[in-house]
Amino acid sequence: MTDAAAAPTRPKRVLVRRHGLVTRVTHWVNALSIFFLLLSGLQIFNAHPALYWGQQSDFAHPWLAMGAYEQAGRLHGVTRVGETLFDTTGFLGASKEGGVTVARGFPSWLTIPSFRFLALGRRYHFFFAWLFAINGAVYVATALLGGHLKRDLAPTRDQLEPRHVLGEIWDHMRLKFPRGEAAKRYNVLQKGAYLGVAFVLLPVMVLTGMTMSPSLDADFPWLLDLFGGRQSARSIHFIAASLIVLFFLVHIAMVVASGAWNNVRSMVTGRYAITLPRPDVQPGDAP
């Protein structure tokens, strides 16, 4: 208010309501759960660092495997992708644990706990899996019933025009973000990323996780047919987790590039600052 009074012709900075309470709470519970799920998941992966397709393990033909071999008294880490071998000493296959190089899939700084302890990794994984699933169910239910999906996430017709989509991609590549009125809503790339993660990637994580349970396979045998078997489900679980990491990296980069503090505040208090060109616009709720 004082801004407007002092300089009525300058662009006006207003706080708009950006994120609802359920969105904010579920966002942070989700972030916490995924942090623990990912790192305990790598602990579980390390118990048998090889992935296969189909119902069972063809031990001679994993499509991805990490291993170690000793040569001249030194341990070397090898990652196999298909038929190709890569030397990944120090990161995958063999890395330092308490100052000594040991054979392990992912390194100690990426697993919970840092040393090999499958039982404890599973305990963390299943606890946060439940938290993650319940939290996700709350989010999806309120998004569908409360209008968040239709109002904020579904792209509008104009946003889906190829020219508009290409323009957004071009703008993002130059780190040029919408301003003013246009910043009140998610842009089409945001909408696509959020919809893809919340309604495809994360549900795939839950379902492929369930498919790895022999008891849940008995209860829901269609899971095995949906994903092509338990070992395929394990592979898809790993690939989908990798895509979540990719999303996370892009997400953080975009948050920082488009105003870290403003974005973080909006996900905590719900208030997001936008700059309006005309001073006569009343601050208020987003449409």
Partner: protein
């Protein structure tokens, strides 16, 4: 790189190391770990809710792997067991006792004459791999009915012949799992008697559970009201090492 920057990086590295040990200490703190076990109760609850008698998928002969991995103990070091192998299990009997009305001592031929089931199922190791094989064995339900479980018997302890990492292997089954049609004491694998690596002469197959539940070298079934006094008191060899007793996931 300047000396100062190098020192800064080095201190950063050691700080990261400190943070990790701090993390590990917190992650292992019993007050942190114990509440996490609520997930085990939820997992078991879901199984019981959806029906304790649902069958695990069965596969066809064409699905059987030629490369079924043997894990855990594959050659028991125990002298008593080695003596049994030397005589091809000639004097071997299965003891059934504890809270039963009629304690039994069954020879392998007697067990082979009991109501049997053959099933081609997927074996899932807790490590993450799977192998499909065919198992034939005596159904545990009728066997325990023959012995007559006392009302207060809540668990069946499977005492095994093998010592692993200094402790005797054992497992426990809930009473509700005894009557599951796919819970069998298997004597044949892929149409031939069990090999030593896979648990000769008798092993458990409780499909719907992970591999560590499938006790090998079974010598004795003991019906109990509590397993707190057996082994480390957690209901199984791997359970004593921190694994969940509910092995359905």
């Amino acid at each position: 790189m300047s000396l100062d920057r190098r020192r800064l990086l080095a201190s950063g590295v050691s700080l990261a190391g400190l943070a990790l040990t701090g993390c590990d200490r917190m992650e292992q703190n019993p007050n942190v770990v114990r509440p996490l076990s609520v997930a085990e109760d939820l997992n078991r609850g879901v199984q019981r809710l959806l029906g304790p008698r649902v069958l695990a998928r069965e596969f066809s002969r064409a699905d059987i792997t030629p490369d079924f991995r043997a894990n855990g103990t594959i050659d028991p070091p125990d002298a008593d067991y080695k003596a049994l192998v030397a005589t091809n299990f000639a004097g071997w009997t299965l003891t059934v006792d504890g809270l039963v009305q009629r304690p039994l001592a069954l020879t392998l031929d007697e067990i082979r004459a009991l109501p049997a089931r053959t099933q081609i199922t997927r074996h899932d190791c807790v490590e993450g791999w799977s192998c499909i094989g065919e198992w034939a064995g005596a159904r545990m339900g009728p066997l325990m009915a023959m012995a007559g479980l006392e009302p207060e018997a809540r668990y069946i302890v499977l005492h095994c012949a093998d010592t692993l990492g200094g402790a005797r292997y054992y497992e426990t089954l809930d009473r509700v799992d005894v009557d599951h049609p796919q819970t069998i004491l298997a004597y044949d694998m892929n149409g031939a008697p069990l090999t030593v690596a896979h648990g000769a002469p008798l092993r458990l197959r409780a499909e719907r559970y992970l591999g560590y539940k499938q006790a090998k070298y079974v010598m004795r079934l003991e019906a109990v009201a509590s397993f707190a006094h057996i082994g480390g008191g957690h209901g199984g060899y791997w359970e004593d090492q921190g694994y969940d007793r509910y092995a359905g996931i």
